[in-house]
Symmetry: C2
Subunit: 495 residues, 2 copies
């Protein structure tokens, strides 16, 4: 099989690095430290005029002195010396460069320059393919398929778990540390490529690569301009019935266009035209970075609802009402359940409960009923396509927390012999979440859970580790689900 | 001064409590444990048919046996026995009741009942004022003004820091544990009242009370129906020029109305009419619970911008472009800065920076320049009314984190003598945030900071503790600021 040329760039066996030092100052140093920290197993050749070694690797005054032709060269030095570096790399036989340096076509006024054109010309002459300028490198989380603890991160600072989500982005921030808070985003990265100003390699190349890449199942794009529009949209149309594409497109407002121009030198187009074309191609568009991440989390699970009918399960009226209100305004349907289904649910709930949808159990401490039996009944009814479930609190934790108070600890009758009696039972999250997971898969009906306690609280962590898609409040899951259902509809109609 | 009757209810010296036990089961038990944990200093009289004591307090078989007439009675027992309880309380001379029990006018079908009417009649006969039914009590964080570590929390579970934000709500969840994650919401609670079905005391009473209450400076409402509309809107109009009112109103969609009906038995009205009236009264409306909280945080600082012109400071182009795009779509203005201001800013930034607005410094490690000098220059220019500042990372933490890697620790030249050299300097957050705080106050120009690292990360915590309004990503601060500016405009025009 012929591999895409980006595969070679993302899987080098040796890397030369222009710009890093030992003082930890500047982005270049952070990038080389990230390569080291990510566990890269190949050879590293720092190029430095003065240092004899960088981070313990022998440094070379020029690429000429490096004992082999490195598979990849990374450049993080001032723009005016970049053409020279490209030339010496070309002479050495280098075929792939990541040009991180900024200061190219995004500059204006007295700083305006023709360096971009110079660099492109030299690259063409020597047959060099390059990413950048003005980019933040890439992250390949699958360079060592057999070991998910090591990767190649030529980018900046976060260590991300491995998964099926791949990114191409005009913004280094959006590609490199989109997961600034990696422990609290339940999606794993496959590959991420910061394309910068797209002097050579562009988002279309990335799409081509991701299309065939077996470890990419969901694609995320941040774009400020689509250069090869025809090719882009043709590719997108081929990809979206199989792999969802989530896109942030920035443009359409005067200030955004100004920002975009000074960022990557792009001319952003009319956002309404983009909207229409994105829709036609099945691209999921968002303007919110939180939603971009939420969609990645939900889509990476591969559960696509068969319609837009939302079942709401709650143990509190207010959130139930807010979810219903927001859901209908977001394009979901919150159907009143049939009489027969209501009767079934009434048998499972208390007098104060409501069973029309939202299904509001009010206060119900029968957790198996809440987490498994009620969702099962809804799923088997055929009346709903997706579920949002509010109020999956860590009740046990709340209760035990009271025992910190002296009086309560002295007089309360709970919490005293709990340890013994629970020893033989499987953990609660196993009892509650595993059966729900099976139902979700069987019916292709996702459940989005909401626990308003801290996202890293004990119970939240336990159920997230079991695979529950969890949110801390109820605005984001509603919007995210509305977009998921819309995409799922496109996918059904186009596959 | 004549105090509002709600002041008496919220500051009782003795409380009788129907429904709690020692087993920690049911909401009543959680509520009494909360009263204890919150540090309530008054007398507690549990009423229980079988127990001789509850949580160490002597229990009484009926209120008749209690040695005094308690200032307040809390009832959390099945609805059918509530009329009897109201009668015996009336006979005892009780004047204030919190009726938490559900099962009143929100029930339908075979469970439909006239208990609400019965209870109201009994209350009238004995001159009892009551909150509820179907509510979750209240939280008074100012019952002991001299000690902010104790409070009276008759509600559920979270312990909230003291502040100037007061809530009245048709939803117990929205009033009682709106701060499920209290360590990560930087606003303090003054009073919170869960009004439930409004059998007697309603949101209008709460507004009347909050209007005069000295410890309330920002008001939050969650409403499903406005019963005394004329009075409500008259009051709101009087209040909003002095104290902002943030309101979640749920209604307008079929499912929301259904949810509302089975929640508090309310009939939600046309949301477009509400929208118009809210606007006229200067009420800040939102449908998002996150935004409700964000607005509370921002409004509680009391900084009201004089216009809608946003200055964006960023060290990354992508977030800058997204903020600009989102801001203009949200009704803010992102003006291109004047030539002279651009020249000033150009002197303060590097070659790769952009100074048009967004002011994108790209990579700048001169933190004082970034946190203080650039905002100061923007503020003094008179060209902007509010600032969003992206990228206030904990760079030091990031850098030192690399030292966990063996190779980096061995070869890096940083982090080795840091402790000594820094000993005499004030902490970094003092150097960076305190001067910014002074500027914010002086110019009445708020700064909303964004650090995408974990909200509880060391640097985030440090600057939040110094008073910085911090967000983790950039969608929410933009929306929140747009609403703040809109409100500030109303306030200017109506005071």
């Amino acid at each position: 099989m012929n591999r895409h040329f980006l595969h070679e760039i993302l899987n080098p066996e040796s890397i030369a690095f222009y710009g890093a030092n030992n003082r930890g100052q500047g982005i270049a140093s952070i990038q080389i430290m990230n390569m080291i920290a990510s566990g890269y197993q190949g050879k590293i050749y720092p190029i430095h005029l003065k240092e004899s070694s960088v981070m313990g690797y022998k440094a070379y005054k020029s690429i000429d002195e490096v004992p082999e032709t490195p598979d990849l060269v990374i450049v993080v030095l001032p723009p005016n010396i970049v053409p020279g570096i490209f030339k010496e790399c070309g002479e050495k036989g280098v075929k792939s460069i990541i040009l991180c340096s900024g200061g190219f076509r995004e500059l204006v006024g007295e700083y305006k320059n023709t360096l971009t054109e110079e660099v492109i010309e030299i690259a063409k002459k020597y047959g060099i393919r390059f990413i950048g300028p003005n980019c933040l490198g890439f992250y390949n989380n699958w360079i060592y398929p057999e070991n998910d603890r090591i990767a190649l991160n030529t980018s900046v600072w976060e260590k991300l778990k491995r998964g099926n989500f791949s990114i191409a982005s005009h913004s280094g921030t959006l590609s490199s540390h989109i997961w600034f808070d990696p422990d609290n985003i339940d999606v794993g990265l496959s590959k991420s490529i910061s394309v910068g100003n797209e002097g050579d390699i562009d988002v279309v190349d990335c799409l081509e690569y991701f299309k065939e890449d077996k470890t990419t199942e969901v694609i995320g794009l941040y774009i400020e301009e689509v250069k090869r529009g025809k090719k882009f949209f043709k590719l997108a149309k081929e990809i979206t019935p199989k792999k969802p594409i989530i896109t942030i497109y920035v443009g359409g407002s005067g200030a955004a266009n100004r920002a975009v121009q000074s960022h990557t030198g792009s001319i952003a187009g009319n956002s309404r035209i983009y909207d229409a074309v994105f829709k036609k191609c099945g691209i999921i568009k968002t303007e919110l970075v939180e939603e971009f991440l939420d969609l990645a989390v939900v889509l990476s699970r591969g559960i696509f609802p068969m319609g837009k009918r939302l079942g709401i399960i709650t143990n509190s009226g207010g959130p139930g009402a807010m979810i219903a209100n927001h859901a209908e305004k977001s394009g979901l349907i919150v159907p009143e359940l049939s009489e027969s289904l209501q009767n079934k649910l009434r048998d499972m709930t208390s007098m104060t409960a409501s069973v029309k949808n939202p299904v509001d159990t009010t206060f119900d401490m029968d957790l198996y009923n809440y987490y498994v039996s009620i969702p099962k009944t809804l799923m088997e009814s055929g009346e709903i396509d997706a579920i949002i479930m509010y109020g999956v609190f860590g009740f046990q934790e709340v209760l035990f927390n009271y025992l910190k108070n002296e009086r309560i600890a002295k007089y309360a009758e709970f919490g005293k012999e709990n340890d013994k009696s629970n020893k033989k039972k499987p953990p609660l999250e196993e009892i509650l979440i595993s059966p729900a997971n099976k139902l979700i898969k069987k019916h292709s009906i996702p459940i989005l859970y909401i626990n308003p306690q801290n996202y890293s609280s004990s119970w939240s962590k336990k159920i997230r580790n079991k695979g529950a898609i969890l949110f801390q409040l109820w605005d984001r899951p509603v919007r995210c689900l509305a977009k998921l259902c819309e995409y799922a509809e496109y996918r059904r109609n186009n596959s």
